[in-house]
Amino acid sequence: MYWRKNIVILCVAITILGTSLPARADDDQSASETVERIASLLVAKSSIATITMQISNETGTHDLTMKVWSAGGEDVLLRILTPPAEANTAVLKMGNDVWYYLPKTNRTVKVPSAMTMNTWMGSDFTVDDLVKESLLTRDYTITNSFHGDRGGVAVDEYTLTPKADAAVVYGKIILQVRRDNQMPVWQRYYDEDGKLVRELTFSDYKTMGGRLIPTRLLMRPTDKPGAQTVITYDDITFDVSITDGTFAVNNLPR
């Protein structure tokens, strides 16, 4: 009987070893998938959303509401609804090109790609953050760097380090994801010296348009004390059909 017990233990050990080895190899793969899934949480195949952006800095706060159409992360149209002074201002991203529509002058201008790294409308989000396709999985190597409890909450942390040939401005990005609902908690951006430069915090997880999403995104740059920008999702519908011609430079004036 004694040897049987040993065989059982051996079998169990082999089984664990056998399953855990491929699991290790899959780790990077699944980390990439998780990050990819988080990054496209708010995009999907197509979506139409109404969002509020509250920009705060030393001098005060400024609210914008806007509507965002997106298709496959490739084409994005963002149009300001209020306040009246900025209403109808639009940003269109098609492929790699970004355009602004300026209602005051009734002109559409193409934005040089270097300028899409600049913050938009005085917010702490860049044009890239708002409309550019998430290229996290293309530009970064992703590893699961932490797996466990943080303040009593079970989380995973993923560290994104830029690939050698990637043209990116960050030295490292860390994303924390809750294990219970697989929702992102925060995303921290570090510069090449390893210094935290900005932090995006996700909260207010709600089911909207049939999906669980974080409906509140808070961006805080570390170099500007008192400055922060909050994006709140008021409404979002996924996988809707978007009218042809929505993503067209000629249709920007309205």
Partner: protein, 419 residues
């Protein structure tokens, strides 16, 4: 030294006028040459500073202490409430060394025409005042400079114009992050195109009327980022900046910077140029000294016999030396006056019309980021002229003194036997 000796010296100078004129020519030529070099080198230095500051920089700038060098849009002079701009300008121009002062506003954004866009620096100026401080208005290659009456007309660099494809009369959209965080944007017309020769400026500068840019950036009209100050004398920039800082600082929190602080590269280059000038001037001075020594030594040596004769007739050695020194001093004075007379029109011409360096292109040349024209202008440098005159006089006197001293110590009979 007696009157009789001076009379004798005077007569001696005229006795062999050919010898006198040759010596005078050597000194006068040396003097003209030194003044010429000093004038050109001072001119080069002046032109470097002038060209480095005249287009945009100006010679002294007044800012809010937090403005330079990062230029945050909020840091306007006098803080959030701005300041009384005309009062500030008249306080600055109250300094007698200040020729003119002009207010400026800066913005950063994008210029766009058709489907082409480019990141630009926007500079808002008061056209009438700016004309008196900087000279960009003289660099127009098409159209006209800004005017207060045409608020929607802007002036752009030629490279920017070709990058985004605009000509005079073209429509141009300007976008800039405004002071309140919003995206200022408006439609303008290209009124003129400039070519400064400085790559950065030609590629990315958009010049517009002050109030137009303040409107675009959502800044009240009392808020400006900078006052550009032009001085009568470039060399006094640091002193004027210190005085202005002390005087303006009583009522307003400002930082006043002279051009050497604003353009340290230029200041270094000017310093380097001073070193080169000194070496070059020293070489020319040696050439002049050798010429004068040669002529003067020969002129006195050949008179050893004559001086021996004078001593045989009862003249004491000291009197002989006195005679020669008097002759040399008279000669040097006359030569320097002659040199001055020949040099004056030449130096005047250099300063007024410049030395044409040739080159058929008529274009401008940049050296170390400084625009140097095809014409090399001179600049009067009187302290150096005076130093050269003193140096040459001493040379002439010493070169006469040595042979005279030698002759005076021969016995008369011995001296008379010399050829």
């Amino acid at each position: 030294m007696s009157i009789r000796l001076l009379k004798l010296a005077w007569r001696n100078l005229w006795r062999n006028y050919r010898r006198t004129f040759i010596t005078m020519a050597a000194i006068a030529f040396g003097y003209v040459m030194l003044m010429f070099v000093a004038c050109l080198m001072a001119g080069l230095r002046w032109q470097m500073i002038e060209n480095g500051t005249r287009l945009l920089l100006s010679q002294v700038q007044v800012h809010d202490p937090g403005y330079y060098p990062n230029r945050p849009i909020q840091k306007t002079i006098g803080g959030e409430n701005g300041t009384n701009v005309p009062a500030l300008l008249s306080a600055i121009t109250a300094d007698p060394r200040v020729e003119a002062a002009a207010p400026r506003v800066y913005g950063y954004g994008m210029a766009s025409a058709g489907d082409r866009s480019y990141g630009v620096e926007l500079l808002g100026v008061d056209p009438a005042r700016e004309r008196r401080v900087t000279a960009l208005h003289s660099q127009m290659v098409a159209g006209t400079y800004l005017s207060e009456a045409m608020l929607k007309k802007v002036v752009v660099g030629d490279k920017l114009a070709s990058t985004i494809g605009v000509r005079t009369g073209s429509e141009i959209v300007l976008l800039a992050q405004a002071a309140d965080g919003s995206m200022g944007n408006d439609l303008y017309t290209v009124g003129g195109i400039f070519h400064s020769g400085l790559d950065d400026m030609d590629r990315s500068l958009v010049l517009m009327p002050l109030s137009s840019l303040q409107d675009l950036l959502n800044l009240p009209h009392g808020r400006i980022h900078e006052v550009g100050v032009k001085l009568y004398d470039i060399d006094g920039a640091t002193a004027v900046a210190t005085d202005l800082a002390a005087r303006l600082g009583k009522t307003l929190s400002v930082r006043v910077m002279p051009w050497p602080e604003l353009a340290p590269d230029l200041a270094d280059y000017v310093q380097f140029n001073r070193g080169v000038t000194f070496v070059l001037f020293f070489i020319f001075f040696l050439v002049a000294v050798i010429g004068i020594m040669n002529t003067m030594l020969m002129a006195v040596f050949e008179r050893t016999r004559e001086l021996g004769m004078l001593m045989a007739l009862g003249m004491r050695p000291a009197q002989v030396i006195g005679l020669i020194v008097a002759e040399a001093a008279g000669l040097a004075c006359a030569s320097l006056i002659l040199g001055g007379a020949i040099g004056a029109p030449l130096l005047w011409y250099l300063q007024a019309h410049g030395l044409d360096l040739g080159g058929k292109t008529g274009g401008v040349v940049t050296i170390a980021g400084v625009v140097v024209g095809r014409l090399w202008y001179g600049r009067q440098d009187f302290p150096v002229y005076a130093q050269a005159a003193i140096g040459l006089s001493i040379t002439a006197l010493l070169s006469a003194l040595y042979p005279a001293w030698r002759a005076a110590h021969f016995r008369p009979t011995e001296a008379m036997r010399k050829v």
